[in-house]
């Protein structure tokens, strides 16, 4: 059982890039149309921006404002599927017996975005990159809770998924649209008056047939943040994650 204080959050999806837009989405969720839109990350100079993939831009865009310039905070980067676009392009080159792009190859590991965050944001605290199953979101928060328990004042958690290339469509059915969600867990930023929301997360065994949320758990949690505080459950296989608001 863990207690999580959500000090602040940011989310991005095509056409959804403000607190108001997410408020409206939470009340009437739908999959926005998507044509490769990506955040411009104009807070970075062009020379630093050029190697950022679409997913990296999404992740940095949402995480950036949650960390103060004078802070060193651990990062948890979580993605179930990772950069499928990049992977597919590299595999295509392998199949065609083409030499691999050093840049693409060098950034093809799951912790590449965590590394880019560290370099571009000047963050020297520990970072973790995880990939889980459909409940990757809850596993990321569990990881954050362990970092808080080790003494971190706050942890930045980023969960990002990208619409996969068509070739993966028969296998990847839980990314209705590309999205990134960043949460600041723990203490608020100095001077930040954003009201925090507190939750208790519990894992219970579950023997019955797994039920599914209509939306990926990270987005379903975003809905819960916009609703009147109420308990809810995310079930994946034998794992039942029970969310309760701490009032």
């Amino acid at each position: 059982m863990i207690d999580l204080r959500i000090a602040d959050w940011r989310a991005w999806a095509p056409g959804l890039d403000s607190a108001q837009a997410w408020q409206a989405w939470a009340q009437a969720p739908c999959a926005p149309p998507e044509q490769g839109e990506q955040p411009d990350c104009a807070f970075l100079p062009p020379m630093q921006r050029r190697r950022l993939s679409r997913m990296a831009r999404m992740a940095l865009h949402v995480a950036w404002p949650l960390c103060g310039d004078d802070e060193q905070l651990p990062l948890v980067f979580a993605s179930r599927h990772g950069e499928t676009t990049r992977t597919y392009a590299i595999l295509g080159d392998v199949a065609d017996q083409q030499p691999l792009s050093p840049t693409q190859f060098g950034l093809s590991v799951h912790n590449a975005i965590a590394g880019q965050w560290s370099i571009l944001r000047g963050q020297r605290a520990e970072s973790t990159a995880i990939a889980g199953e459909g409940d990757t979101f809850e596993h990321a928060l569990l990881e954050a809770a362990t970092l808080l328990d080790q003494g971190a004042p706050a942890v930045i958690v980023v969960i990002a998924e990208e619409r996969p290339p068509e070739a993966y469509e028969a296998w990847i059915d839980d990314v209705p649209f590309s999205y990134a969600l960043a949460l600041r867990i723990g203490a608020s930023r100095m001077g930040d008056a954003t009201p925090a929301s507190s939750w208790r997360l519990r894992l219970a065994g579950h023997a019955a047939v797994a039920s599914r949320s209509d939306w990926p758990f990270a987005l379903d949690f975003l809905r819960a943040l916009h609703a009147a505080p109420a308990p809810f459950v995310h079930t994946w296989k034998t794992r039942q994650w029970i969310w309760q608001p701490n009032l």
Partner: protein, 89 residues
Amino acid sequence: MTDLQLDIAQLIIDTLSLEDLAASDIDPSMPLFGDGLGLDSIDALELALALQKRYEIQIASDSRDARQHFATVASLAAFVEAQRTACAG
């Protein structure tokens, strides 16, 4: 700026995603690495790959002269010229 220099400048921009630059912005004598354009070692590898593909030339990865060849657009153009001549001969 010769046609080949312009072509190489454009290849650099396209290959390395220098979205805010035009080929004519890269002076043939401007250092590509370090203080000039600001490219780094990964760019050098990426650029070598792109040059080999585009101009069908060979670049030995252990070449001691590579540093000089890759110094500027002008030196790269001279290098590509020489390699092409060598390959054709």
